[in-house]
């Protein structure tokens, strides 16, 4: 049994960012559906351009083996390309090597 009567309201703390070359943390705009599912619509890095997701082709719990991490994995189609978008609560990131990341964020 855990009892925690806190004297002060708990402050919500930000997630800890763990960096790696294939990991790009992003801001996400998403639809939260009535069923509770989340459908991401677009994302951007802190100062980059907005990238619109054309379609989410798959979603499942999965590890991010290249970037490091684990969470709900969305297979997003952006134009001609595919990229994995992860929701590793409370953070979102995309898993992409340098070539893919440049192509996606430059809109090319």
């Amino acid at each position: 049994m855990v009892y925690a009567f806190l004297k002060y309201t708990l402050l919500e703390v930000d997630g800890v960012q763990r960096q790696s070359p294939c990991k790009h943390y992003v801001k996400v705009r998403a639809d939260h559906l009535l069923s509770g599912r989340v459908r991401p619509l677009m994302f951007r890095t802190e100062d980059g351009p907005t990238v619109i997701i054309d379609a989410v082709e798959d979603e499942r719990e999965a590890p991010a083996l290249k970037a490091g991490g684990q969470g709900m994995r969305y297979l997003c189609r952006v134009g001609e390309r595919h990229v994995f978008l992860f929701y590793d609560e409370p953070l979102w990131f995309i898993e992409a090597d340098q070539v893919l990341a440049e192509a996606i964020f430059s809109g090319g």
Partner: protein, 415 residues
Amino acid sequence: MSRVILHCDANSFYAAVEMLYDPSIRDKPVAVGGSVEARHGIILTKNQKAKACGIRTGEAIWQARQKCPGLVCVPPDYPLYVRFSKKMRRLYEQYSDRVESFGLDEAWIDLTNPGVTIADGERIAHQIRQRVKEELGITVSVGVSFNKIFAKLGSDMKKPDAVTVIPPDSFRERIWRLPAGELLYVGPSTQRKLARMNVRTIGDLAQLDTGVIQYCLGKNGLLLKAYANGLDESPVMPVDFRAAIKSVGNSTTPPHDIATAEDARCIYYLLAESVAARLRQEGFRARCVTISARTTELVTRSHQRMLKRPTNLSGEIAAMAMQLFHERFGDGLPYRSVGISCSHLTLDDAPIQLDCLGDEDRRIAVESMERSIDDLRRRFGHQVVQRGVVLTDRGFADINPVEDHTIHPVPFFSG
């Protein structure tokens, strides 16, 4: 009907999660250990590569570094491990409503149902193993057997990412040749005692004479012999299981010693309030109040007394505590810490003997008021309503009497 029980054990759990989050260390020997900078702390978990260097859980980090100069030592990130533990549990709960966790990285799953065989258990075990790897990115070893002890033994036999079956008809061939120390609850000390009787394997233990083992190891010896013979009947606790509450207590070590009876009064009221609130929350009244006090020399004493009527009112509990304090502890000041515990619990909706000359009306009114205070505190925090006596000392008034108690690993005999 033979039971079908799985035991899932995450392989090098902390290290596996750390490797999942940092791809650059995956091919290196990795250990999760306490504070590295402070030059103390011990190895909590290590991966396969570190194990190959001879690093053992529990040894000091500097020792480990001597054995393996390239060792990557990372500090533990408990919130992350707890999150993974919960995710694993959610996955297990898709297969049964009887899932009992054993620490953060282990759990038993009871699949027993009419028509479910050990072979079905093995199939589900492979499915779970596969899903944990694909969805969470870490690996588990699963033991499948007809009792909890053998299921746990099985999960230790083949690692990592493997399933071991110990069926009821052939467990003797499979495990009786294993060293006795492999069995749950045979630690180094028991192992030494057994070795003196020339008991070295689980089979030796199973066939040892009942009288001899009881003489040497007492009641626990009989238990171990039963385990070795596959006679463990302990159930896998259902998901919503909570151990029966026998007493409700609280103690505190305030910021400064309790030097006067007035200090003690303040602290006992504070503790009585939290104990009474918990009694009400759990739906109990208590007949017996125990107070304890620890002197500055760290000697603890306690005394208890029965109340006339079962109660869940903080005023009555505190009054009894103070009465006991004056009679028993008044001379021993100062004290370092004090506590109150209430036992002999009855359900609060059980009929009680009313007292026609008594003050039942007032008691009912007070209980109603205290429940309102509970609700206010739940909504606005503990400090929102306080007794006047508590405010006599600002240092004490800031104490939060209710603390968080979670213990890992949990004991096996928790039922």
